[in-house]
């Protein structure tokens, strides 16, 4: 699946987008998997209360299932308007 990062999450991880092969069943499992990769992921995902997640371009929460999902995006709380 494609994993996207925006705003300071993108800056901390250092890339806007990557392809990830995973068997993670939920967003939370994917986060745990990414955190074990490298320190920059661990830093970016250290405080999940400061993060929001969208699955296939719909806002959801970290318990969301990844079954059949093509795109997951992580970003800070939005500041539109």
């Amino acid at each position: 699946m494609d994993v996207l990062y925006f705003a300071w999450v993108r800056e901390r991880i250092g890339i806007p987008k990557e392809k990830v092969e995973t068997n993670a069943a939920t967003v939370m499992q994917l986060v745990e998997e990414l955190k074990t990769r490298e320190e920059r992921y661990e830093v970016a995902f250290s405080d999940l209360s400061a993060l929001r997640v969208a699955v296939d371009q719909e806002l959801t929460d970290f318990d969301a299932s990844l079954e059949g999902v093509r795109e997951v995006a992580f970003f800070p709380p939005m500041t539109g308007g």
Binding site: L4, F6, A7, W8, A54, Q57, E58, L59, E71, A73, F75, P76, P77, M78, T79, G80, G81
Partner: protein, 147 residues
């Protein structure tokens, strides 16, 4: 219903005029425009708004459609910019049309509250001291609870 996400400036006068004409039986038109102000600490040179291209249009359309159905609007317009902006630039506008003004005002407030914290935009402010992401405010999240 019209929802536009664009980098380039929009012509507020033309958009408002265009929106306000051509509706039958709509007694009230409300417009709101968001303008770039200085950073809280002052000295802002520019602001850059990042967004999530695949999601932004859909998220805005969903918010706008909800406003139309809840307040029985005759029409709604949302324009939101991204990219580089400077103080005084218009970031976004909403316009609502309804038979009576209460619905048009309320729907515009609803749109603004949801655009602030449910539309995938992120603002970064550049000052002489460096660049900082604008933090979401608790009160913006709290504002949603009244709807």
């Amino acid at each position: 219903m019209r929802v536009v996400v664009q980098e380039e400036p929009f012509d507020f006068g033309r958009e408002a005029q265009g929106f306000a004409t051509g509706h039958s039986n709509m007694g009230a038109i409300v417009t709101f425009t968001g303008v770039v102000r200085d950073a809280d600490q002052g000295g802002m040179d520019r602001m850059v708004i990042e967004h999530y291209p695949g999601m932004t249009q859909k998220a805005l359309e969903k918010i706008a459609a909800e406003a139309v159905s809840r307040w029985n609007l005759g029409d709604v317009l949302v324009i939101h910019r991204h990219g580089e902006l400077r103080q005084g630039d218009m970031i976004m506008m909403v316009a609502t049309a309804s038979r009576h003004r209460v619905n048009a005002f309320e729907a515009a407030e609803y749109l603004m509250d949801y655009l602030k914290s449910r539309a995938p935009f992120w603002k970064k402010e550049y000052t002489a001291d460096g660049a900082e992401w604008v933090a979401a405010k608790d009160e913006d999240e709290d504002a949603l609870s009244r709807w």
